[in-house]
């Protein structure tokens, strides 16, 4: 039953031959690749904690099978910055206290990266709407919105 999955995750190419067709992408990343930064919060596509980028688009890895990711380029939270060198969005999350327990954070970051890449984010309402598929229970969202707002401002500076 097992099949081979070739994917590129955070720039590294993996060829894994013993992937069950029913294996969720989230479990593939966590259990087979050891990338436990991707968190599983609901396994039914509502909470957004497991969000990763697949070919540049934000995707809930609990709603996708690993075999569907054959040939894809995947980015997880481990593919952003490092503790010594946080990327722009990570640094703004820290600056604005956009995380508490940290469980929803990887999904928030991956959704935030997607929003920053694709949308003007001219208003906070637009940011809140963009985040409405990612649930956080600690922060009340205010500081997450502030972090993404600040990252959007830095992006604007960078392009001007």
């Amino acid at each position: 039953m097992s099949t081979t999955v070739s994917v590129t995750v955070n720039g590294t190419k993996y060829d894994l031959s013993d992937v069950e067709p029913r294996l969720l992408l989230s479990d593939f990343l966590r259990d087979m690749l050891g990338l436990t930064g991707t968190h599983v919060g609901c396994e039914h596509g509502v909470c957004g904690a497991c969000t990763v980028l697949v070919n540049g688009d934000s995707v809930r890895s609990c709603l996708m099978l690993a075999v569907q990711a054959k040939g894809a380029e995947i980015t997880t939270v481990e593919g952003l910055g490092t503790p010594e060198q946080l990327n722009v969005l990570q640094a703004q999350f820290r600056e604005h206290h956009g995380l508490q327990c940290g469980f929803c954070t990887p999904g928030m970051l991956m959704t935030g990266e997607d929003l920053l890449r694709k949308y003007p984010l001219a208003t906070d309402d637009e940011i809140r709407e963009g985040l409405s598929g990612n649930l956080c229970r600690c922060t009340g969202y205010q500081n997450i919105v502030a972090a993404i707002r600040a990252a959007a401002a830095l992006r604007a500076e960078g392009t001007s």
Partner: protein, 800 residues
């Protein structure tokens, strides 16, 4: 030796870290996917556990057949109550409370199930997928019994009993009395009353409960990594149950993804996984899926309160009485008991008000639902909802503004310490100051002007106020839960400088998002005189201090912070003694600051690393008797506790077409004493308010009359997203408490104030239609029904 030039002592003594918005130590790992939650552990030859859970609300188990499941691919073992009978003692959630029945806690149901979701059997297999496959192959025969789905029905005379041994479904009852409430109500100029209800709610942390038991065959020892906020309590309980001494049972709460109370009790699965790890000699992991987490983690509220308040002609509340019935679910929880939530409702009902006479009676009733347990605010979200509703009803009856009636009833600055009618003592806190600051920040008078204009245009706009007080940082004289036999009144700090000069501060508290690695290091940095970045805080590990409980009840800043301060001072004295030898100065002339010990008024200084080297490594510098180990342990007990208070003001608009409530403005003025880290305090308030918004508008665990949960997914159980939470304005009244550091606890307040403020705002918005708010959450469906009823009433009147 030092670049420091003449620092003035006053400058040195001033706190540099406490009060500063220092960026969190936790963040770099959590932002880069390098955090480690229980489910991230990967011990060698790991096996996975899956639980078969009851689909029956109340039934006898007549047969369990596991033969087919045992033979399924990857299955190592299938465990039932029978198979583990000799491996543990039931855990009893004991309490000295009279009129209380302690239901025993066991890992798997014995003979009978009492709620849908109760664990009946466990499969242990080589993967989670295979373990879940095998669940389907277990055959269980049930003999169904009548379901008890409503607390009111559980107390009728011929109700079926959930626990026959108890002889009743009322697991706990209690009454508080002060003064002659009947006479005072009769003498009152105005009496207001109502039936208030907060429905059953899920704490719903984003990380589902998860446990990894790692077995060490060399010593028959277990390390349990648990998503718990009470690892110390879990260690002690499992040690007793499994007869495993503490040095063979280590319980660690690594990074924990929120709790809000749902991870703050001992769970059957924690027992089972430790039992199975020893039985099989293997390491095991279990992670709840969301359905399991919602349907088997402790739940909240589920209370109905019939209450009445009397006022004199000046709007002073004189008397209050309440009868509370709490639907506590199928079992009492360890260690808090099923009395925790409902009893706190009557303990805190008089709130921050000087009400002379009081009677509060409470019954906690067993039903076929998961147990209720601690949830952020415990009892006070409801007591505040009820008291604040009655205040507004009184204001309306007397023609007073809601702000003014609170001014007339709050305990004032000169009246502290104040014992309220239920017996709780408030120490000096800014009750009135919070009220006035919130009103000012919200622009209260202008809001009323705007509201009047909006009403003229037919808009349903309302303003709601809620004031409350809570007891935080509770010491040993007061039990966190009534009559509970364990000590929750102290907290230990153990601070060590090792031979490399590294500073490690270990605590028994267990952060699950509060940022204690940061705030406790801020305190140690100031009181020890070290650099913030040089301090490592260890917490959530039962091996680090001899006795610990965890983080709950807004205790960690007060108790952990107090312990940190005292231990730091003891260690600083040791540093000074060593430095006095090294610097050839009197130890009274030495100050420790920024990681150095210096002779005041000179540039003669040694680093803490040099001090450590002198003590541990260099055998020539110090006389033998001066080589004191650089470690200090202090167990701090604030004896009583300290008050925290706030006033919330919400402005809402009800859309008559969609029946949705939009929050237009939200202000919190709070007094949490001296602030350790303002960034973290604001974050706690924001998050608490967001959960209070959920409780006020969205979140409800709906059980049908057969005890089946109808809202078990996150599609049906709706928590607020970024789009539903408004911008919150937080004002701080920083009045120092009398306990060490001047801190007050502040982790829960947001959730206490928000439901009441929003309920009052909705009631205010709908008051032109004669609608009161008596049940939360105010979902669009409930508002629709209230609006329909109001329309019918108006039509009825028109027809008359």
């Amino acid at each position: 030796m030092s670049n420091d030039t003449r620092a003035e002592p006053l400058d040195v003594m001033r706190p540099r870290n406490v009060g500063a918005p220092i960026k969190r130590t936790e963040d770099p790992r959590l932002l880069t996917g390098r955090g480690e939650y229980s489910a991230d552990r990967k011990p060698d030859r790991l096996l996975h556990v899956a639980f078969l859970r009851s689909g029956q609300p109340h039934a006898l188990i007549t047969r369990i057949d596991t033969v087919t499941a045992q033979a399924a691919p990857g299955v190592i073992a299938v465990l039932t109550a029978e198979g583990i009978a000799g491996d543990f003692k039931p855990v009893i959630p004991f309490s000295r409370m009279p009129n209380y029945y302690a239901t025993p806690i066991v890992p798997l149901a014995i003979g009978k199930v009492r709620y849908v979701g109760e664990a009946v059997a466990a499969v242990i297999a080589t993967s989670r997928y295979l373990a879940e496959d095998a669940l389907e192959l277990i055959e269980v025969d049930y003999e169904p019994l009548d379901a008890i789905a409503r607390a009111e029905l559980a107390v009728v005379d011929d109700a079926v009993l959930l626990h026959e041994e108890a002889g009743t479904n009322v697991l706990i009852s209690r009454e508080f009395k002060k003064g002659d409430v009947v006479a005072d109500l009769q003498a009152a100029a105005v009496r207001v009353s109502g039936r208030f209800e907060m429905t059953r709610k899920a704490p719903l942390a984003m990380e589902p409960r998860s446990y990894t038991a790692e077995y060490d065959k060399r010593r028959d020892a277990v390390t349990l990594y648990t998503s718990s906020n009470i690892p110390g309590i879990v260690r002690d309980a499992i040690s007793e149950s499994l007869d495993l001494p503490g040095h063979r049972l280590r319980v660690v709460a690594p990074d924990v993804g929120g709790s809000f109370g749902s991870k703050g009790s001992l769970y059957p699965e924690e027992l089972l996984i430790c039992i199975a790890a020893r039985k099989l000699g293997r390491s095991l992991k279990w992670t709840a899926d969301r359905l399991e987490d919602v349907s088997s983690s402790s739940q909240a509220f589920a209370e109905v309160v019939n209450a009445e308040m009397g006022f004199d002609a000046n709007g002073v509340a004189t008397s209050l009485q309440a009868d509370v019935i709490g639907d506590v679910g199928a079992y009492s929880i360890y260690p808090w008991t099923c009395g925790l939530e409902p009893v706190q409702v009557v303990s805190f009902l008089p709130g921050p008000y000087k009400i002379a006479s009081y009677r509060g009676a409470v019954r906690g009733v067993a039903t076929c639902k998961p147990p209720t347990g601690p949830y952020r605010g415990v009892g006070r979200p409801i007591s505040t909802f009820v008291a604040e509703s009655l205040m507004d009803l009184g204001a309306r009856a007397l023609g007073l503004d809601p702000l003014e009636i609170r001014r007339r009833n709050l305990v004032r600055a000169e009246e502290f310490p104040y014992r309220i009618a239920s017996g709780i003592i408030w120490d000096k806190t800014g009750f009135v100051e919070c009220l006035e600051a919130a009103a000012e920040a919200a622009g209260y008078e202008q809001l009323r002007v705007e509201q009047a204009a909006a009403r003229k245009r037919g808009r349903l706009l309302g303003v709601g106020i809620a004031s409350y007080a809570e007891l935080t940082g509770i010491g040993s004289r007061i039990a966190v839960a009534p009559g509970m036999p364990i000590n929750t009144g102290s907290e230990t700090a153990k601070i060590t400088i090792d031979s490399t000069g590294a500073i490690t501060a270990a605590f028994g508290v267990a952060s699950h998002g509060q940022g204690l690695e940061t705030t406790l290091a801020q305190i140690v940095a100031d009181d020890l005189g070290a650099r913030f970045e040089d301090i490592r805080v260890i917490q959530g590990d039962s091996d680090e201090v001899p006795m610990s409980t965890g983080t709950y009840a807004s205790r960690s800043a007060v108790l952990g912070g107090g312990a940190a301060k005292h231990a730091s001072r003891i260690l600083q004295d040791k540093i000074k003694r060593v430095a006095s030898h090294l610097l050839e100065a009197n130890q009274d002339d030495i100050e420790v600051s920024g990681g150095k010990a210096a002779v005041i008024g000179t540039d003669r200084a040694v680093t803490l690393k040099q001090v450590a080297k002198a003590v541990y490594s260099d055998m020539k510098t110090l006389p033998v008797e001066a080589r004191e180990e650089l470690t200090a342990t202090y167990t701090f007990d604030p004896i009583n506790g300290t008050t925290a208070a706030a006033t919330h003001i919400a402005v809402v608009e009800v859309d008559p077409a969609t029946c949705f409530v939009k929050i237009l403005k939200y202000v919190v003025a709070e007094d949490c004493g001296r602030i350790i880290n303002p960034m973290i305090v604001d974050g706690q308030v924001h998050g608490g308010v967001a959960q209070g918004i959920g409780a006020a508008l969205f979140e409800e665990l709906v059980y049908d009359d057969d005890g089946q949960l109808l809202s078990a997914s996150l599609v049906d159980y709706v928590i607020p997203s970024a789009a539903e939470v408004p911008v919150m304005d937080v004002v701080h009244i920083e009045s120092e408490s009398a306990v060490a550091g001047g801190f007050r606890g502040m982790g829960e307040g947001g959730t206490i104030g928000a439901p009441a403020a929003i309920a009052n705002a909705i009631a205010d918005a709908l008051s032109p239609l004669g609608i009161d708010v008596s049940i939360l959450p105010m979902t669009p469906e409930r508002i629709f029904k209230l609006l329909e009823q109001a329309r019918l009433n108006t039509r009825g009147k028109a027809d008359e």
